[in-house]
């Protein structure tokens, strides 16, 4: 759970603004993962 919690906190930071901030984020280097990128968008 500690690892999951650490990841969740990082994801929450990366997704700042939620859906309202989608256009303001830079998705270029996020984990090099298609799913991670789109999780941050929507």
């Amino acid at each position: 759970m500690a690892t999951a919690h650490k990841y969740a906190m990082e994801w929450t930071k990366l997704s700042a603004g939620g859906r309202g901030g989608a256009s303001k984020r830079d998705y270029g280097d996020i984990g090099k993962s298609w799913s991670q990128k789109y999780n941050l968008i929507w």
């Binding site: 759970m1 999951a4 919690h5 969740a8 994801w11 929450t12 997704s15 939620g18 859906r19 309202g20 901030g21 989608a22 256009s23 303001k24 999780n39 968008i41 929507w42």
Partner: protein
């Protein structure tokens, strides 16, 4: 955001801060009345405000609304019902749709049905599956 629904289903509570942030933004009267909640659905994100397709998607919105509570669920489904009854394309269950005009966008034969179970799942397991496993 909609993927976080599983956090609530299992009851991990890893993403409570993100869920609270998102639900507050969507349901806030002053912000979202004209920017997220539209006649035929909720905008997917802020790009939908300026993109002429004004994208919404019932499935993704349903997963999100389920996490935001009954008021949000009622709000969203009233718009989905409006869409189903008034979409000029008569394509009541679609993937992308225009939240402003009610037009179907792109996909055919790709109704997203999973989201209809989002609220039911959370009502079945209000504390999450983890708590059932732990006999709480």
């Amino acid at each position: 955001m909609y993927c976080i629904h599983r956090d609530r289903v299992f009851g991990f509570k890893l993403f409570d801060a993100a869920i609270e942030r998102e639900c507050t933004m969507i349901m806030a009267q002053d912000y979202s009345a004209n920017r997220i909640r539209q006649k035929f659905g909720w905008f997917l994100d802020d790009r939908s405000e300026t993109d002429k397709r004004h994208l919404t998607n019932a499935g993704w919105s349903e997963w999100t609304a389920a996490m935001c509570g009954q008021t949000a669920v009622d709000d969203l489904y009233s718009r989905i019902l409006t869409f189903s009854e008034q979409t000029p394309d008569r394509w009541a269950l679609t993937d992308y749709a225009n939240a402003v005009t009610g037009a179907r966008v792109g996909f055919e034969g790709r109704a997203q049905m999973g989201g209809f179970g989002a609220t039911v799942l959370l009502k079945m397991f209000p504390k999450g599956l983890l708590h059932i496993h732990n006999n709480e």
